[in-house]
C-alpha cells in the first residue's frame, strides 16, 4: 500500500501582494531613465533626466511660477468638476426615477454622449467667449456625462424590495428618493466621479492650450514651443500628481461616505 500526501493544488491561485516589487519597479524605471540620460547618447532636448526635471520643478516652485499655473488650473478644474458633477447627479436621478423624464432624457443623452467634448470647445468659445467660462464649461460638460449616466444606472439598480419597504413604512416620493434611491446609487456615483476626474484633467489641458496665459496646459504648450523640454516634463509630472491625488482623495471620500460597504 502506498501513501499519497494531499497537497494544496490551488496554491498557484493565491495572489500575494508583492509590496516590495511595486516599489522596486517604480524605482528601477526612474534609475534606468536617469542612467540613460546621463550617458549623453540621448539629447536633453528629447529626454531630460529625472533629477533635472526635479531641479527645474523646485526652481519653478521657488520662483512662484509653478504655483501660479497650478492655481489657475485648479480653479478651472474644481469649478468645472463641481458644476458638472452636481448637474449630472440631478439629471441622473431625475431621468432614472421619473418615467416621463426618462422618455425625454434617454434619447437626448444617447445622442449627445458620444460627441467628444473637446469638439465642442470652439462652439463654447463662440458662445461664451475666449475667457474662463468656456474653459470651465467644457470641463463641466466632460464631467456631466459620466456622472449623469452612472447616477442613472445607480438609480435603476436600487433594490425594489427596499423601495417597497420604505413605502410600506410611509415614505412618499421625495423620501424614497432621498432615503433609498440616493444611498443606493452612491457607489455608482463615486465610480462616476472617478471617471469624471480623468476626463476633467484631459479637457483641462486641452482647453488651456487655447487663448490662455496661465495653467499647466499652457505651461506644457509654451515650454514645448520654446523647446524647453525639462519645463515641459515638469508640467507632465504635475498632471500625473494631480491625477493620482484626485483618485486617492475620491477613494478616501468614498470610504467616508459609504461606511456600510463591507470592505473594498
Amino acid at each position: 500500500m502506498t501513501r499519497m500526501a494531499v497537497v494544496n493544488r490551488a496554491a498557484f491561485l493565491t495572489r500575494p501582494e508583492h509590496r516590495g516589487l511595486r516599489v522596486i519597479a517604480l524605482v528601477s524605471l526612474l534609475v534606468a531613465w536617469e542612467a540613460l540620460a546621463r550617458t549623453g547618447r540621448v539629447p536633453v532636448l528629447f529626454l531630460p533626466s529625472p533629477l533635472g526635471v526635479l531641479a527645474e520643478g523646485w526652481e519653478m516652485l521657488r520662483s512662484g511660477e509653478l504655483l501660479g499655473h497650478l492655481a489657475s488650473s485648479l480653479q478651472r478644474l474644481v469649478l468645472g468638476f463641481a458644476l458638472g458633477a452636481a448637474a449630472g447627479v440631478v439629471v441622473g436621478v431625475t431621468v432614472g426615477f421619473f418615467a416621463a423624464a426618462e422618455a425625454v432624457g434617454t434619447p437626448v443623452l444617447a445622442a449627445t454622449f458620444p460627441v467628444p467634448k473637446i469638439a465642442l470647445l470652439p462652439l463654447l468659445i463662440l458662445w461664451l467667449g475666449l475667457g474662463e467660462p468656456s474653459k470651465v464649461a467644457v470641463i463641466a460638460l466632460g464631467v456631466f456625462f459620466p456622472m449623469a449616466i452612472n447616477t442613472f444606472t445607480g438609480v435603476r439598480q436600487a433594490d425594489p424590495l427596499l423601495v417597497r419597504a420604505a413605502v410600506a413604512f410611509g415614505a412618499r416620493r421625495w423620501s424614497v428618493i432621498r432615503k433609498v434611491i440616493l444611498p443606493s446609487a452612491l457607489p455608482m456615483i463615486f465610480a462616476g466621479l472617478r471617471l469624471g476626474a480623468g476626463t476633467a484633467l484631459l479637457l483641462l489641458v486641452a482647453a488651456e492650450m487655447i487663448a490662455v496665459e496661465s495653467g499647466i496646459g499652457f505651461l506644457i504648450l509654451h515650454a514645448g514651443n520654446l523647446m524647453q523640454t525639462t519645463k515641459l516634463m515638469v508640467g507632465i509630472v504635475v498632471l500625473s500628481i494631480l491625477g493620482v491625488l484626485s483618485h486617492w482623495s475620491l477613494g478616501r471620500l468614498e470610504r467616508l461616505a459609504i461606511p456600510w460597504r463591507v470592505s473594498t
Binding site: L161, L162, R164, A165, A166, V167, A168, F169, G170, A171, R172, S175, K179, V180, P183, L186, I258, P259, W260, V262
Partner: protein
C-alpha cells in the same frame, strides 16, 4: 383594528403579456387582536395578499377595508419582510427609526420609541451596528423592531422566519409570541410552514395553489400563551393533520409541474 378582504382578485401581466390570476375571490376577515396565519404552497399568492392589505398593490377586483379608529399621523399597518429588507446604509437604530421619521416624530421621541422596541426585541447594544454586521436572526429582530416601533394596529408578516435556520426560527417564534402577548396587535402572518402556522395563530386560513382561493379556515383550539410543550397535544396534532390533508393534493400537483 379589523382587516376585511372582500372578494379580492389580483391579475398580473406576465412577461409574455399573458394575464396570470394570482388571487381569485378572496374573502377574509381578521378581527381586532386576532393572530391569523395565511398558509399555502409557494406561488399561491399569499405574499400578494399581504401586499394588497399593506396598500402596496391595487386589487384587480374587490376591496380591502381597515375597520377601527386611527389617530392622525399614525400608520395603520407595518410589514416584516422575508428577506428582512433592512436599509444597509442605516445603523440598527436608524433602521428602527425609519417609520418614525416618516410619521414626523421629533428626534427625541424617535430615540425614546426606538429604545423601547430595541430592548423588547433583544437588540440593546447593537444600535450602532450596520445590518451586514449582524446574523440572520438579529437582522430579522431589527425588521420586527422597525415594524413594532410605528405601533401599528395591524402587523403584516411575510414569512418572517423562513430565511432562518431551524433552531433560530424556533426561538424567534417564541420571542414573537412573547412580544405579541404584550403588544396585542392584529397580526396577519404569511407562512408555508404548517407547524409554524398552527403553533402561532388563532386561526389558519389555507389557500389553494394558483389562482389562490380560500380552501378552508382552521381554528386552533390551543390556549394562550402558547408553549413548546403544546406541540405534542392532540389539538395541535389534529389541526396539523387536517391542514396537511387539505393541501397534500395541491403539494403533490405542484411537485409534478
Amino acid at each position: 383594528m379589523r382587516v376585511v378582504v372582500e372578494g379580492v382578485s389580483k391579475v398580473y401581466g406576465d412577461r409574455a403579456g399573458h394575464a396570470v390570476r394570482a388571487l381569485d375571490g378572496i374573502d377574509l376577515a381578521v378581527n381586532t387582536e386576532e393572530f391569523v396565519a395565511v398558509l399555502g404552497p409557494s406561488g399561491c399568492g399569499k405574499s400578494t395578499l399581504l401586499n394588497l392589505i399593506a396598500g402596496l398593490l391595487a386589487p384587480t377586483e374587490g376591496a380591502i377595508w381597515l375597520d377601527g379608529e386611527l389617530p392622525p399621523g399614525r400608520a395603520a399597518t407595518a410589514m416584516v419582510f422575508q428577506e428582512f429588507a433592512l436599509f444597509p446604509w442605516r445603523t440598527v437604530q436608524a433602521n428602527v427609526e425609519f417609520g418614525l421619521e416618516e410619521m414626523g416624530l421629533t428626534r427625541d421621541a424617535r430615540a425614546r420609541r426606538a429604545r423601547r422596541y430595541l430592548d423588547m426585541t433583544g437588540l440593546a447594544g447593537f444600535e450602532t451596528k450596520y445590518p451586514h454586521e449582524l446574523s440572520g436572526g438579529m437582522r430579522q429582530r431589527v425588521g420586527i423592531a422597525r415594524a413594532l416601533a410605528v405601533e401599528p394596529p395591524v402587523l403584516l408578516m411575510d414569512e418572517p422566519f423562513s430565511a432562518l435556520d431551524a433552531q433560530t426560527r424556533q426561538l424567534m417564534q417564541e420571542e414573537l409570541l412573547g412580544i405579541w402577548e404584550r403588544t396585542r396587535q392584529t397580526i396577519v402572518y404569511v407562512t408555508h410552514n404548517i407547524h409554524e402556522a398552527v403553533y402561532m395563530a388563532d386561526r389558519v386560513v389555507v389557500l389553494s395553489r394558483r389562482p389562490g382561493r380560500v380552501l378552508a379556515e382552521v381554528k386552533v383550539e390551543l390556549p394562550r400563551p402558547r408553549a413548546e410543550a403544546m406541540l405534542g397535544e392532540p389539538a395541535f396534532v389534529h389541526a396539523v393533520e387536517r391542514i396537511w390533508h387539505l393541501i397534500r393534493d395541491q403539494a403533490v400537483q405542484a411537485l409534478r409541474e
